[in-house]
């Protein structure tokens, strides 16, 4: 008994041995769901392609070479920069940025509206925001396709109202892709901003008004800096998956409005694929996202250290 008591007086010694054991679930999760799959793709991107899909275990830079350089039809011309894939990357980035912008434009007022409701109304609105997630993304995207097609309800409704004289062509345009991305990821913008606004103390706005600030100044100098972490989280949560999305561009954008996601998907689908190339594109996409996020984290760190 005395031994037990003396042992437990020091907490650190009691739990020190348990440390690695308690870490185990996290390590298993990270290892199995992050390190293994990403590591596998990283390795695949440096292997040689097998013609019917799959890889040959032989080191090769061909995948990266294919992405950046054009060596002619037979692969023996002097290399020139290959713009096709870079353009797709650029278009994807642009599409994702536009979708993020519109999500922010609509998401911020929505989040503000919900956060400022009182009592049970708040929960009802939050609940409504999450309802679309009860339906599979594929099905939602297909319904969107039916909604906006030339003979779809949107056009028919506008026609019957006399607003337009012939159907607006939306499907298979950039706009359709942006709309699809916006629709898919809007809640990811609303929820983090909502969480920030929820913590906002409205006496800050009163204090600003008391100190002669206009409504606009109050918004830009007091409210936005306060909810900035929520806005940034929302932007990341919308931008990153939009960048790699393939359902919306595939179903709503048609063949002309290719995005990275579809490009990668194609490399792994059927017999025409090129696994190392798909893996290489994934790695390049991942690098870009990491660079952007690291830059942001650094900036954030600098600001906090200030």
């Amino acid at each position: 008994m005395a031994g037990l008591v003396s042992k437990s007086t020091s907490n650190t010694s009691t739990y020190a041995g348990l440390g690695p054991l308690l870490m185990l679930p996290s390590w298993v999760l990270i290892g199995f769901f992050l390190v293994l799959p990403v590591g596998m793709m990283l390795i695949y991107s440096f292997l040689t392609k097998e013609f019917r899909g799959g890889v040959i275990w032989e080191f090769s830079l061909a995948a990266y070479d294919q992405f950046f350089f054009d060596r002619g039809l037979f692969g023996d011309d002097p290399p020139v920069i290959e713009w096709t894939y870079i353009k797709i990357f650029w278009r994807s980035t642009w599409q994702a940025a536009v979708a993020t912008f519109f999500c922010l434009l609509i998401g911020f007022p929505t989040a503000w509206f919900i956060a400022t409701r009182t009592g049970p109304n708040k929960s009802i609105w939050l609940f409504l925001i999450t309802i679309p997630y009860w339906v599979n993304l594929l099905i939602r995207t297909i319904s969107m396709k039916f909604l906006i097609r030339d003979t779809g309800p949107l056009n028919e409704w506008l026609l019957s109202l006399g607003v337009i004289s012939e159907p607006i062509h939306i499907i298979n345009t950039n706009f359709a892709v942006q709309l699809g991305l916006f629709y898919s990821y809007l809640p990811f913008m609303v929820l983090p901003i909502y969480a920030s606004v929820e913590r906002y103390n409205f006496s800050f706005s009163e204090a600003a008004a008391d100190l002669y600030a206009s409504r606009w100044t109050t918004l830009t100098k007091v409210i936005l800096p306060f909810v900035k972490p929520g806005i940034i989280a929302g932007c990341i949560l919308v931008f990153v998956p939009s960048l790699g999305a393939f359902l919306a561009p595939d179903l709503l954008g048609g063949a002309k409005n290719f995005m990275i996601g579809s490009l990668i998907e194609e490399q792994f689908k059927g017999n025409a694929g090129n696994w190392p190339f798909g893996a290489a594109i994934s790695m390049i996409l991942l690098s870009i996202v990491l660079v952007v996020l690291t830059y942001y984290a650094r900036q954030q760190g600098k600001e906090e250290a200030r």
């Binding site: 009163e206 204090a207 008004a209 008391d210």
Partner: protein, 355 residues
């Protein structure tokens, strides 16, 4: 003649069918430390917020140095507020917080900077100029809030229970500091509190508010010594309320019959009328006498020793309890519990109230 800083005329504030302020009329003088005192929910903060412009008034008028400000938004009113929870902008350091109002007024950075240094010096926070609010103690935050509100040199400074979040010791120190700052700056202070001690020690004048109605306005002494009605007498300090039958009120004096049947004449509050009424006598102004002597007779039911003095409860025949406060001294004579005691009032100590 002193100038009137704030003049509120027949102001009413309604929230739907709830009336928060009923027909309030008040004049706050220039350079005055004016306190709105009342229990929570009495409407004192609402009154302050109507002056700041955060609440619209339903009826009446508010004038600031003669100018009607009832329709002006808060950012157009030359008044500043010290908020109850300070409402310091969390992402700005002390300097930026204090400078905020100055820059909004269109001052250039150099002028604003000089003013910030000046007010931070006034509240003794110069060495904390670069801290964020979260890095300050409650007392320091309170002083930043004060500095921020003082910086634009408002015509009137509104303070919404600014001391309630501080601990007792700090509160007492800050009270003195606030009074000193008010005198140094010459700015009119309108101070909201539910703490009567705070109100009594700091204010030039006090408005006692209950149920959205101004009950009485006067100096601390007026309100304590000459309360108008039962609410004021009871809310400010401790008092004994004695049921009496008033036979006559004339020229500020009332003749009434005490519970024991004794006839008694005392000053009457303006507006008191004949009929059944209440006398108010402060415990420290009641004295114990020998049984059979004095105005009232009762049985001693309780003695509480408080160090500096002693509280003795005496129960009258009709069940009313009168508390007597006896100062602790060598010759103090305290009747035993259960003993009969006589009670006497000091001259002018008892007053007939408006019921």
């Amino acid at each position: 003649m002193t100038e009137i800083a704030i003049n509120i005329q027949n102001m009413t504030k309604r929230y739907g069918s709830f009336v928060a302020l009923k027909n309030v009329s008040l004049s706050i003088k220039d350079n005055e430390f004016f306190t709105l005192l009342g229990p929570s929910g009495c409407g004192k903060t609402t009154l302050l917020r109507t002056i700041a412009g955060f609440e619209n008034i339903s009826e009446g008028a508010i004038k600031l140095y003669g100018e009607d400000i009832a329709e002006l938004p808060p950012n157009k009113r030359p008044v500043n507020t010290v908020f109850q929870q300070y409402a310091l902008f969390p992402h700005m350091d002390v300097t930026t917080n204090v400078m905020f109002g100055l820059l909004q007024l269109g001052q250039d950075r150099a002028t604003a900077s000089a003013r910030v240094t000046e007010v931070l010096d006034l509240v003794q926070l110069t060495q904390f100029a670069n801290r964020l609010p979260s890095q300050l103690s409650g007392g320091q935050q309170q002083r930043v809030a004060l500095a921020r509100a003082l910086a634009p040199k408002p015509k009137v400074l509104l303070l919404d229970e600014p001391l309630s979040a501080l601990d007792l010791k700090l509160r007492q120190a800050v009270r003195q500091e606030l009074q000193q700052i008010q005198q140094e700056t010459g700015i009119t202070f309108v101070f909201v509190t539910h703490d009567q001690e705070e109100a009594l020690t700091m204010s030039d004048r006090i408005a006692v508010i209950a149920d959205g109605v101004v009950q009485q306005v006067g100096s601390a002494r007026d309100i304590y010594e000459a309360p108008l009605n039962k609410f004021v007498a009871d809310f400010i300090g401790e008092t004994n309320l004695i049921d009496v039958v008033v036979t006559d009120v004339s020229q500020g004096n009332a003749t009434c019959i005490l519970p024991g049947g004794e006839k008694f004449t005392c000053p009457a509050a303006a507006g008191a009328v004949a009929g059944s009424g209440h006398l108010s006598v402060r415990p420290e102004r009641v004295t114990l006498t020998k049984p059979g002597k004095g105005l009232l007779q009762g049985i001693t039911t309780r003695q509480v020793y408080l160090g500096t003095d002693m509280h003795v409860d005496v129960r009258l025949d009709d069940g009313e309890i009168i508390t007597v406060r006896v100062q602790n001294s060598e010759g103090m004579i305290i009747p035993e519990t259960g003993a009969i005691a006589g009670l006497e009032f000091e001259t002018g100590a008892a007053r007939l109230l408006v019921d």
